[in-house]
């Protein structure tokens, strides 16, 4: 079993980069196990945002003065680094949004509601999606009469890949899937799903909110058409997200927001749009957020995403074993840590997830409880809610030990 000394990442020195770990919670050292909801921020990210506002704040792209040029250079520099981070062919394939949610809505609107989807066209999703990859497609169903179909999971929490044999037909226009489940941790075979989508002429849309922060992602190797992720789950600021789209599919995607920044010419009653990706960035963008995300990507690249992934496998394997050994605790998702991201959902016989989270809070341990914005999956698992611990680069074995000690307290109170 993993020990602190042989974890791939040097957690004590990483923790020093994150100011939040200087504080205590209820007089106890902070154990943060909710990075799947939002990650903590290293000083480099906080400084990058402050630096923009403090030293070179100006609007991007059209200012004819030094400050504006600096702001534009940093904003576009962030786009380039993010493109490199996910192995996009070009920065033009990176659209800044406010979140994964907005990115998926952009696609649902741009090819669905306002795009080429017709009545009876089919969209194939899965039962393990986050609400942000369910509801935008509900809009397409309501507005265009699209038919929604879903791939189920097996008892180990993995997608029933054979379901695609039946569900994918020439009526299928969009295939959408989470790269990693925010509840079960299951890492889905996006490369295979994208290949299958293309075989029937459909596009593949990937919710990568839980994968880009935690494992090496290569959009070209995955072969997907669109891929969405959020800055705040990968050490970056809130309010900044990314839509990757292959250049040819972005060119055929209708913009979601009309306004400044996204136009070529505007006349009374008509307008034409500027090039990809700027046509999708109507309005003054979150410049500081994009620059902060650029700094987050630099930080992660320095750690190395292979090391981040190996680190989380060690932590997850340890947690699966530790939690699995507790009386009355049920753990969900694949049993093999290598098949999942650093997310461990569980329930306890004696206590509701909210009560688990309340007791752990007293112990200084932050976990999430509830439906995790995945109500269809909760229904599928037949549980009203789960508790969830999730890991990141600043977590070590001791954090799981503190979690387990807290769960013993929960048992004391409720059993």
């Amino acid at each position: 079993m993993a020990r602190a000394s042989n974890l791939p990442l040097q957690v004590p020195s990483i923790k020093r980069d994150f100011p939040i770990f200087e504080r205590t919670i209820h007089d106890k050292p902070l154990v943060y196990l909710d990075s799947a909801a939002t990650s903590q921020k290293p000083r480099a990210v906080i400084d990058a945002e402050a630096d923009f506002y403090g030293r070179y704040n100006a609007n991007v792209h059209r200012a004819i003065y030094e400050l504006g040029e600096e702001a534009t250079r940093e904003y576009e520099g962030a786009r380039e680094r993010i493109a490199g981070f996910v192995r996009a062919k070009s920065p033009n394939e990176i659209v800044f949004t406010k979140s994964t949610t907005e990115a998926i809505n952009l696609v649902a609107y741009g090819i669905g509601v306002k795009g080429r989807i017709r009545e009876g066209d089919e969209i194939v999703g899965t039962v393990l999606e986050h609400h942000s990859n369910h509801v935008p497609w509900h809009f397409v169903k309501e507005h265009r009469g699209a038919v929604l179909k879903y791939v189920d999971i097996d008892d180990d929490g993995r997608l029933r890949m054979e379901a695609y044999d039946e569900l994918l037909t020439k009526r299928t226009k969009i295939v959408t899937v989470a790269h990693a489940s925010n509840v079960l941790g299951t890492i889905n075979d996006v490369r295979e799903i994208a290949k299958r989508a293309h075989e029937v002429g459909a596009v593949c849309v990937v919710d990568a909110a839980q994968s880009v922060p935690h494992l090496p992602v290569d959009v070209q190797a995955l072969g997907c058409d669109y891929l969405a992720f959020s800055g705040h789950k990968m050490l970056g600021p809130t309010g900044i997200g990314v839509l990757y789209g292959r250049e040819d599919v972005l060119a055929e995607t209708e913009p979601l927001l009309g306004g400044g920044e996204m136009i070529r010419e505007v006349h009374l009653g008509t307008s034409t749009w500027t090039d990809v990706p700027f046509r999708f960035e109507g309005g003054t963008p979150n410049i500081a957020g994009a620059i902060g995300l650029g700094a987050a990507v630099d930080y992660l690249a320095k750690l190395g995403m292979d090391a981040v992934r190996r680190h989380e496998i060690e932590l997850t394997a340890y947690a699966l074993e530790a939690l699995g050994g507790l009386d009355g605790v049920r753990v969900y998702g694949p049993r093999d840590a290598k098949a999942r991201s650093g997310v461990v959902s569980f329930t306890m016989e004696a206590a509701h997830p909210h009560d688990i989270a309340s007791i752990l809070d007293v112990e200084g341990v932050c976990i999430r409880s509830g439906h995790h914005c995945a109500q269809p999956l909760m229904e599928r698992l037949n549980v009203p809610a789960t508790a969830r611990a999730s890991f990141y680069v600043y977590n070590d074995i001791e954090d799981t030990d503190r979690l387990v000690a807290g769960l013993r307290k929960v048992h004391e109170v409720f059993a």
Binding site: A351, H352, H354, D355, A385, F414
Partner: protein, 131 residues
């Protein structure tokens, strides 16, 4: 128990672990169900109200956290034997006072779920009650 576990003091755990008003109710005249999808809490409350307007019995079923289920049990206990008019005026502040603990904004929703169900039940006849 450490002082910091105040949220789970004896009386709340007592009502949660050994509820006196949990289970089905024969001859219910009023019934309502309310859920808090955010938490996965789901409560059904049934009342048997006499012609005079006195609440003869109140029982709840469902699932939820300790706070929501203890609130439901305490609330049922409080209204049994009271008139409908008295039950109608129970406030969220009264529920907090019954629990005897301060609750965070997030957990307050758990505590008032039972009150929401009660208010609805007072206005809604049970299916097949005929009255």
């Amino acid at each position: 128990m450490a002082a910091s576990y105040a949220m789970y003091q004896e009386q709340i755990l007592e009502h949660y672990k050994k509820p006196r008003h949990r289970g089905p109710l024969e001859g219910a005249t009023h019934e309502a169900r309310e859920s808090n999808p955010l938490c996965g809490d789901d409560l059904t409350l049934r009342l048997r109200v006499e012609g005079s307007g006195r609440i003869e019995e109140a029982r709840f079923e469902g699932q939820g956290c300790a706070i929501s289920l203890a609130s439901a049990d305490m609330l049922a206990e409080r209204i049994v034997g009271k008139g409908v008019g008295e039950a109608e005026v129970v406030s969220p502040r009264d529920v907090q006072a019954m629990l005897g603990i301060p609750l965070s904004a997030v957990r307050e929703k758990c505590a008032v779920l039972a009150l929401d169900v009660l208010r609805q039940a007072l206005r809604r006849k049970a299916p097949g009650s005929g009255t």
